[in-house]
């Protein structure tokens, strides 16, 4: 996708920006990790994660990066490897789309139709993502965090 | 939509306060019944209280 070369202008960048170099490489262990993940999510974060389709069917690289930065900012104590693999939530673009995902590693947002499987181990979050009780689902290698609209977290382990 | 067949606990703070009072009353009643009268009558007006010294826990044996 080509980078827009006009319109960048003199914008004061007030968005969050986390330096990846400063992130701890150790992170948290076992019980402490789970305890941290169970902490309520900030409402700004929940808000941002439910609006993955704010950019329409195709999101700009900048928008995707911003979302990824937000994830990093929400969990400053965690090591890079411990951050979620991706976010899955209900898609409001309408038929035929059902869910969409934010893949952290690939830095893309994809929308999926019914019957279309999510790749990279994120399919397991589909069912919960479709449930009205949850705002979005954080996908990790061996578990999922289901987050409500008020930020409360439930953990489902494999 | 939540279908609430029964109200959660009590509908008003007044009702709760009333029940609290009722309970307090019952507690006081039982207190009267289980107090040793002769002992109670023998005490002077003032209370013998523990000192306000900070309490250290008995050494926790591993």
């Amino acid at each position: 996708m080509r980078r827009p070369i006009i319109g960048l202008g003199a914008q004061t960048n007030t968005r969050l920006h986390v330096e990846p170099a400063k992130r701890t490489s150790v992170g948290l262990e076992g019980a402490a990790l789970e305890m941290r993940l169970r902490q309520k999510r900030s409402s700004a974060f929940v808000e941002a994660m439910t609006r993955l389709d704010a950019g329409g069917v195709v999101a700009s690289k900048q928008q995707v990066q911003e979302l990824i930065d937000r994830i990093s900012a929400e969990f400053p104590e965690l090591a890079e490897l411990q951050l979620p693999l991706g976010i899955v939530s209900k898609c409001y673009l309408g038929n035929p789309y059902e869910v969409h995902s934010l893949d952290r590693n690939l830095a893309i947002i994809e929308h999926y139709k019914r019957g279309q499987s999510l790749p990279n181990g994120m399919e397991k979050a589909r069912r919960l993502a479709l449930h009205p009780g949850y705002a979005y689902i954080e996908v990790y290698t061996n578990m999922m965090c289901a987050v409500t609209h008020t930020g409360e977290v439930s953990i489902i382990k494999e | 939509m939540v279908n609430r067949v029964r109200p959660i606990i009590h509908a008003s703070p007044e009702a709760a306060a009333r029940m609290q009072e009722e309970l307090d009353r019952k507690i006081e009643e039982v207190q009267k019944q289980t107090t040793d009268e002769s002992l109670a009558r023998s005490f002077p007006d003032w209370d013998l209280n523990p000192p306000a010294v900070l309490v250290r826990r008995r050494s926790a044996k591993p």
Partner: protein, 578 residues
């Protein structure tokens, strides 16, 4: 052959030799008899000796046994005597070193048991002096007694000084003593303060069994209204401390998950009969729905606990009073070694010197100091009140203290349940398979069913067609007809063949009608089943959704509950921000 003359003299010589030989043989024979007799005699003597040896052995055994018994009895006797002597010595030593302790105990019991004021006063006279403290210099109960009697004699200065001394000797026991005494005497502000002091010294990792009685007591207001609130908060700080241990919170959550899951009830077996019969997905559907129904069950359970009336009873006060009696009669740590010696020697005497039996009894008597896991206690109080004999107030306290773990466990269970609901529901009618999500794709499925049955009908019709044999019989009939023009007999055969052919054709035709009719019926029948299953699916989804929605109730119910306000919460304070 020469004639030989045998001289007689030679024969007689031989004769006499033979005779003497014979004589010798007789002698030998007689001797042998004698020997035989003697052998027999010896043999008899030998068995006689054997018998005697046997008898001697028995005697020896018996003698040995008697001897051992004698030794045993002697030992027992010695043990007995030793124990008697020792006991006397020990009791003397106890009297010398700890005689005053018994005196202190006696007077304490006297004050506590006195049923009228004059008796109380009588006991306290002579106690309100510092000399008492010197008589039992290390016993914690002595200064407590001085303090108590000073208090009863309105001597504030002495009372407070004695309290300080008592606390110096044993803070824990002193605190418990005054908590219990002031309660008995109706001084509830004081008893609340003392109880807090006592509880504050407890290690939540290792609680003594008395804790159960004390918790039940203060939760029911036995120690006063203040105590109920403040001790509840104190216990909550225990839990906060315990929560610092790694893995502790996780263990609580798991414990609560199991306890909550155990309350699930089986689904009504008459519900969703069509889904049950025609869907291979039914087991997952059933489990998911049962899990959703659990929300309401859990809500009703906790709601019941929180809205039940607390009825304080006298029994709890009696149990608390008993604690005081035990505390006062307890031997002090210093006396214990001697007291144990005393006891074991008493038992030896009782068992007539049998040391082993005495030691066994002694071991049985020692009350095992059982330390409790407080959090297991809490879960039991809240979820299994009948088994753990918890009063209503204690149940409420336990719920209030465990609130966070209950909510987390419930949230996890909810997510697990929602994750387990099948999105696609399989339908199997006979050989036909279909899939539906919410029962809304009726037209599509009916068409699929129709197509499937049409296929089957085609196959059936194909099979029904008159086969090779039928055409063969036609051919045979015609053939035989041709040849039968000459031979009559073949005409008959031909006729038979033709009849067989015609019969086959008719049968096939009627079967065809039958098949068509049957498939039409089958289609109707299966369609009805399909529609019924779809209707069940609609009902299922609706019921699940309604049951699932109840999960918020538990959060709303438990969020506002706190250990200092755990009896009645208000609806208003349960507002959630969405």
């Amino acid at each position: 052959m020469a004639d030989q003359v045998v001289s007689r003299a030679d024969l007689s010589g031989i004769n006499s030799s033979l005779r003497s030989l014979d004589h010798s043989l007789n002698t030998i024979s007689n001797n042998l008899n004698v020997v035989a007799q003697q052998v027999a005699a010896v043999s008899m003597q030998v068995s006689s000796v054997e018998q005697q040896v046997e008898m001697t052995k028995n005697d020896l055994d018996r003698l040995a046994a008697e001897f051992r018994e004698f030794v045993r009895q002697d030992a027992l006797h010695k043990n007995l005597q030793l124990a008697e002597t020792r006991l006397v010595k020990i009791r003397q030593e106890l009297e010398n070193k700890f005689g005053h302790y018994e005196e202190v105990r006696r007077r304490a019991i006297g004050i506590l048991q006195a049923v009228d004021t004059s008796l109380v006063r009588k006991e306290t006279i002579g106690l309100a002096s510092e000399e008492q403290l010197l008589a039992a210099p290390r016993y914690w109960l002595a200064p407590c007694l001085v303090a108590l009697s000073a208090w009863l004699n309105d001597n504030r200065e002495l009372a407070e000084r004695a309290v300080m001394e008592a606390l110096r000797r044993d803070d824990e026991k002193t605190s418990l003593f005054f908590a219990l005494v002031t309660r008995r005497g109706g001084r509830f502000r004081a008893s609340s303060a003392w109880l807090e002091r006592y509880l504050g010294q407890q290690d939540p990792n290792e609680l003594k069994r008395e804790i159960v009685v004390l918790v039940d007591a203060f939760a029911n207001g036995i120690f006063g209204l203040e105590a109920r609130k403040r001790c509840g908060m104190l216990i909550r700080s225990w839990l906060e401390e315990l929560s610092q241990k790694p893995g502790f919170v996780e263990a609580q959550r798991e414990q609560w998950k199991n306890a909550l899951r155990a309350k699930a009830a089986a689904l009504d077996p008459t519900k969703f009969p069509h889904l049950r019969e025609y869907s291979p997905t039914w087991p997952q559907l059933q489990q998911a729905l049962e899990g959703a129904h659990l929300h309401d069950i859990i809500y009703q359970y906790f709601n019941f606990i929180l809205t039940q009336d607390v009825v304080p009873t006298k029994d709890l006060a009696a149990a608390v009073d008993q604690l005081l009696d035990v505390l006062v009669r307890e031997f002090d740590a210093e006396e214990l070694p001697l007291r144990r010696e005393e006891r074991i020697n008493e038992l030896i005497i009782q068992q007539n010197g049998d040391r082993q039996a005495a030691e066994q009894l002694f071991a049985n008597e020692r009350v095992v100091e059982e330390r409790l896991d407080f959090t297991q206690l809490l879960t039991n109080f809240a979820m299994y009140p009948a088994e753990s004999k918890a009063s209503v107030a204690t149940q409420k306290l336990a719920v209030a203290l465990s609130k966070d773990w209950i909510l987390e466990a419930h949230r996890d269970l909810t997510a697990e349940n929602r994750n387990a609901v099948p999105l696609d529901i399989e339908i199997t009618v006979d050989e036909w398979k279909g899939v539906s999500r919410d029962g809304g794709n009726e037209a599509e499925l009916v068409e699929q069913l129709d197509r499937h049955l049409q296929e089957k009908k085609k196959e059936a019709l194909k099979r029904n067609r008159p086969g090779f044999m039928n055409w063969l019989s036609l051919a045979a009939g015609l053939g035989f007809l041709w040849f039968g023009l000459e031979t009559r007999f073949l005409l008959v055969v031909s006729a038979i063949c033709l009849i067989v052919f015609v019969y086959g054709q008719i049968k096939s035709a009627t079967n065809k009608k039958k098949i068509v009719r049957e498939f039409a019926e089958l289609f109707e029948n299966h369609k009805q089943i399909l529609l019924a299953v779809l209707s069940d699916i609609v009902d299922y989804r609706r019921e699940y959704e309604a049951a699932d929605a109840n999960s918020v109730l538990i959060g709303e119910l438990l969020e506002p509950v706190t250990p200092d306000q755990y009896v009645y919460s208000t609806h208003d304070s349960a507002r959630t921000v969405i």
